[in-house]
Symmetry: C2
Subunit: 360 residues, 2 copies
């Protein structure tokens, strides 16, 4: 601890006297963390949320707590950020928990499952329902303390080389789709492929896959999918409001001063609301550009949606039978989701529906 | 500055050596602010948001920055918190900006206007559109720096002693309704009354008014309106997503150290998302209880909604002609709102609508 430096600063401060802001002098405790993102730097939306978080932490601590943000692949590959935090290779990660459903399907409940919650419902479950408490229990086994940090909102259903007129067109369809949803696609005869973002364009262009979903207009346009597949479907029944998570290694968390723990929590909340806002602000113009560039918007057929819904429920029942972690979290989750949907039917949906009709 | 105290702490810290967390020693700069809320203490939702904010600021600064929260009437009456911040009677306030539409209608655009934005759209405009920038310009004339801090979501349309079957039933209806919306109700022949929350119950019970709107099931149940009016209507066409604001006196803000400014911003964002989550988490069960207690849920008739929409648009056109502040902000606001509604029609509404149908 550099006491001489502190005394020098204090003397200067007292000498000037005219400063508008009182000087805050921290002990010279410099903390440096590394955060591994599962996303590429080019996505200012989703990768940007970790940068927003880090800037705020630095600014709130007068630069004493620095968190460097590393894009997918720089320290570890995108899907290994969980292991990296668990093993303390890095102190933190920003990721979509459903990537890790292969370790335990319960991860998906902290992000999105088919026919799950929308963005606001998910925030309600996590911030004021039992969501955070239940997931914290679950993450203990991975040495992780988690915080919600961002949501994309309901995603688009992806890009297709041919039209999908009914559930029959799913049979044999090779599609890039985020991990957990692939389990439902499979039950409908589809062939899910888990391809990292950077390789999807070429797979679609060369016909190695027939369809690919990523996020929504703004991100999808950047990746250029509209150039190799004309049909753009909605809604993504598998991602009504996928929530991103900030993962922190338990020991790194415990070693933080209490003030810094609170600053991390507040900054994560700021990045949480700001990331959703960024998607909402940027998607409308991107969709207009895509349509102007001949993208053909299509709504998924009712029979396909209903078949996918039915298979999802069957899958959840199976998981509740065989995975006790899933059962614990899902039971709370599904009750909360059902209540949200029931309440939403009245004033929230009533308002949105009127506005949608009025502005047509 | 108490240097002796600092040195003592530093010595103790070094002596222990085994502490997990590094000691952070701040200069002994204690900052105390008073925040005047426009809301009564009993509303844990909306009053609670200021408490959440204040606790977080205190915790993030190791107790150095204390903001005491004062319920409506304790320092100034609920609708005088703007003046109190402007005149530096208090450093901060938590309020619904539309209360001040009598000074300038532009205030309402920072909160809710009839047929405006929903909660998420409003966050998008403020955080990532031009909302915050434009409102900051506007608030300069009031010596105020503003932050978004909370939203109730779409409100219910209030409690009625008699059924409202068409727009004709609005003629002569005496109704407690939040300030700005009364201007539209008036154009439909209604008689708006601006009655503080604490007096609404008795006015409704004694028949001095025919109807009253407050917020939604959880808050309304607390105030007991169901006991004196059987019909509960939706949606509140005048409050699709009213946003609350944190007001800070410009000089108090400028005097804060940069770290504390960032902490205030982050803590306000945390309270922002948490307040909406609280309403979402608590409203469903409250609505169930109200229905079990014989409340009769009713949807406003289409002709009433459409007549109110038409009069709202006429009002906005008049305001754009005579109030340049309104015109500047409204032009940006309306473009953003229209884009949000257009984009929302696809994947967001498609997903919500399917879920609503599936769980019926």
């Amino acid at each position: 601890m550099e006491r001489r430096s502190f005394l020098k600063k204090a003397t200067v401060g007292a000498g000037l006297g005219v400063l508008a802001a009182p000087a805050i002098v921290h002990a010279q405790t410099q903390i440096r963390w590394r955060l591994a993102s599962s996303f590429p730097k080019g996505l200012d939306t989703i990768f940007g949320a970790a940068e927003t978080f880090s800037k705020m932490v630095s600014s709130a601590t007068g630069g004493k707590f620095q968190i460097s943000i590393h894009p997918a692949g720089e320290i570890v590959p995108p899907l290994q950020v969980l292991d990296a935090v668990q093993n303390a290779t890095v102190e933190a990660a920003h990721t979509a928990p459903y990537y890790f459903f292969g370790k335990d399907e319960t991860f998906a409940l902290d992000c999105a499952i088919p026919f799950g919650m929308n963005s606001r419902q998910m925030s309600a479950w996590v911030y004021e329902g039992n969501g955070l408490k239940l997931m914290r229990e679950f993450y203990k086994a991975y040495n992780i303390v988690n915080f919600p940090m961002g949501n994309t909102g309901a995603q688009m259903g992806g890009w297709y080389r041919k039209e999908i007129k009914s559930v029959n067109d799913i049979k044999g369809l090779k599609m890039r789709i985020g991990g957990f949803a692939g389990k439902v696609l499979e039950r409908l005869g589809g062939v899910p492929a888990n391809i990292p973002g950077g390789e999807v364009y070429s797979a679609l262009e060369k016909g190695r896959i027939d369809a690919a979903e990523w996020v929504g207009p703004y991100d999808d346009e950047k990746l250029g999918f509209n150039k190799v597949a004309p049909y753009y479907y909605y809604p993504a029944w598998w991602e009504g409001g996928p929530q991103l998570s900030l993962y922190i290694n338990q020991k790194a968390w415990d070693a933080l001063p209490a003030e810094y723990q609170t600053i991390v929590e507040a900054a994560a909340s700021h990045a949480h609301v700001d990331m959703q806002a960024k998607y909402d602000a940027k998607n409308p113009a991107a969709l207009k550009r895509l349509i102007a560039n001949k993208t053909k918007l299509r709504r998924f057929s009712k029979d396909y949606m209903q078949a996918a819904y039915k298979e999802s429920q069957a899958l959840y029942a199976e998981l509740s039978d065989k995975n006790p972690n899933w059962k614990t979290v899902y039971e709370d989750w599904v009750k909360f989701r059902n209540d949200q949907v029931a309440w939403g039917r009245y004033t929230e949906q009533g308002f949105d529906q009127f506005m949608s009709d009025a502005l047509k």
